[in-house]
Amino acid sequence: MSPHDHVGDRLSALVDGELSHRDRERALGHVAHCAPCRDLLESERVLKARLAGLIQPEPSARLLALLAGTAVPGIPLPPQARVRATTPVVPVLPPPGRGPRGGRPTGRGPSTFDGVRRPGGGPSRRSRRSIQRARYAAAGALSVAGLVLGTAFAAGGAGGTGAGTVVPPAAELSIEHDATTASLLLGDPGLVSVGPGLQGGTASPTALPTAASTPEASTRAP
């Protein structure tokens, strides 16, 4: 491409800033001396501006809410301002020396969708609140489960009288045995046994079976 060649089909690429540095310099040098090409360049810029000014379709609020709900904790949400942009985007020519091949991101540090770095680089405030709520829910659930299991553990170790360890009430059991024995066997209470409530074997000197009597160990005859 010589400085005397018209811009021609490279006019659109020039407006979009897609030419290389060298071709862009030559094209701009030609346009400075060529009135027809300068008119074409101006017309192309106006056309691009009008196209950019058309209304852009916007995502619905429900779609945005769903996208916000599926966001992974720790990863920042896409900026709503960019999604909801209503102002026309007018392409501008990149400044000299900052063409697409010369301006590359460094790739260091946490990047965002909009290419803006945030101080600290941590999760957003909203995601931190979600994590905190989840922790509260887990702690509450574990507390309830612990309470239920603790109650079951305590109740499982208790005996019928509410104590973990029990001693059979010897006198009460003897009375109960004697009372039912007399009703199951032929004869009166004296004949069917050695006298219900009056047993006194040589090795078992059972004392008087009153309701308040103590276990036999404490009433053994000397």
């Binding site: 709520r133 989840a134 829910a137 887990a138 509450g140 574990l142 309830v144 489960a145 239920v148 299991l149 109650t151 079951a152 109740a155 499982g156 208790a158 005996g159 019928g160 029990v166 059979p168 010897a170 059991l173 003897s174 009375i175 109960e176 045995h177 004697d178 009372a179 039912t180 024995t181 007399a182 009703s183 199951l184 066997l185 032929l186 004869g187 009166d188 209470p189 004296g190 004949l191 069917v192 046994s193 050695v194 006298g195 219900p196 409530g197 009056l198 047993q199 006194g200 074997g201 040589t202 090795a203 078992s204 000197p205 008087l208 079976p209 009153t210 036999e216 160990a217 053994r220 005859a221």
Partner: protein, 393 residues
């Protein structure tokens, strides 16, 4: 994220509970008392119980109609007669002999008062007994229970306390041949039908229980001014008590539900003994009464772990490889722990029958401090908490 929070909470709460249920359900078997009727779990005792039940079915008792009528008359005599007298009663167990002289006073259909003077080994005492009502499980009556297990026949007459009595002998089925000892003999007053004398023998014909009237006065029950129980003096050096059985009883359906909750409650025990009555104390102790018409064995089941410090007057013994606490005397008493249940057996029965009963009942190891024990304890607790809301519990 907000919608996920309740779901996560529910999972965290229900998850451990479901896991516990899954762990406890199969793990409950070691702590659940084995039932004597279960095959392969009760060891030799279960086999004995099954064999005893089989023998009960295969060899039918032979019942004399006259003997049955005599015993039926004797069974109803306390409801018809008012009397007082003196009895001499004795019992013999291994190495122990017990004898008492009793003053007895009975009011027709009512209470019975027994009074014993003090001896060198036991103090004087008086006790008044009231009827326990009909058995809750098996209501055959004393004669019906006896005819289930023994053959009956009239073998002669005799004199007791100056009164003529018909003698009825009870034999074990299949032992009716000559030379086979009787299981028991009953002397029934020919005039009133009252049981005047009663003796029970072991397999070798040796007397194990004996009781007889020395003197007897039968009064007119229509004469309300002659209530002998009103004159039953309380010994000055002793104490008096009124024996009343526990009032809460279980029928067959209730026993089925109790087995589902881990109670043992077998229907039969070696002897063979049949479950006749089931009751419960206010403290939650379950009393199961087994009998064959001559012997009575009470099995008490109590939730908890046995505090052996309270058994100072018992001695350690081993029955069928099971360690139990035993108290000699009449009646015999055995205590042990199986899982989380304390068993107490109080028996007026031959020594061999008592040993078979103890061997047939559960002897599971007590839950310790292991993980399995803790899980089982939590499972028991969940069952217990659930039972609080069970209207049938």
């Amino acid at each position: 994220m907000r919608r996920g929070l309740p779901a996560a909470g529910v999972v965290l709460v229900l998850g451990p509970l479901v896991l516990l249920v899954l762990l406890v359900a199969p793990g409950d078997a070691p702590t659940r008392p084995a039932r004597p009727g279960d095959s392969g779990r009760g060891g030799a005792g279960a086999g004995v119980a099954a064999a005893s039940a089989a023998s009960l079915v295969t060899v039918a008792p032979v019942i004399s109609a006259v003997a049955r009528d005599l015993l039926e008359r004797a069974a109803t005599a306390p409801s018809r007669l008012t009397y007082h007298g003196v009895q001499f009663v004795s019992a013999w167990t291994t190495g122990i002999t017990t004898s008492r002289v009793l003053d007895i006073a009975h009011r027709a259909g009512g209470r019975t008062t027994l009074r014993a003077d003090g001896t060198a080994e036991s103090p004087a005492a008086a006790v008044t007994m009231t009827s326990s009502g009909s058995p809750s499980v098996l209501s055959l009556g004393a004669v019906g229970l006896l005819t289930m297990h023994f053959s009956l026949d009239v073998v002669g007459t005799a004199q007791v306390a100056g009164r003529t009595a018909d003698v009825v002998a009870a034999k074990r089925p299949g032992s009716a041949g000559a030379g086979q000892p009787d299981a028991a003999r009953f002397w029934v007053d020919r005039d009133t039908g009252l049981m005047l004398r009663r003796e029970v023998y072991d397999d070798r014909g040796r007397t194990t229980r004996a009781g007889a009237f020395i003197s007897l006065v039968v009064r007119d029950p229509s004469d309300s001014s002659t209530d002998p129980t009103d004159n039953a003096d309380v010994p000055t050096d002793g104490a008096a008590s009124v024996e009343q059985p526990w009032t809460a009883s279980y029928d067959t359906a209730a026993l089925t539900r109790m087995r589902q909750q881990g109670w043992t409650c077998p229907l039969t025990l070696p002897g063979p003994l049949t479950l006749v009555d089931a009751r419960r104390s206010a403290a939650g102790i379950v009393h199961l009464s087994y009998s064959d018409g001559l012997a009575v064995v009470s099995v008490f089941e109590q939730r908890g772990d046995l505090d052996e410090r309270g058994l100072a007057d018992h001695r350690r013994t081993t029955i069928a490889e099971h360690r139990v606490w035993e108290q000699d005397g009449v009646p015999m008493r055995m205590v042990w722990t199986s899982g989380s249940t304390v068993f107490t057996v109080v028996a007026d029965a031959p020594q061999r029958t008592v040993d078979q009963v103890v061997a047939a009942l559960p002897h599971a190891p007590a839950p310790g401090g292991s993980v399995g024990g803790a899980v089982a304890r939590v499972g028991r607790g969940l069952d217990r908490v659930a039972s609080w809301f069970d209207p049938f519990g």
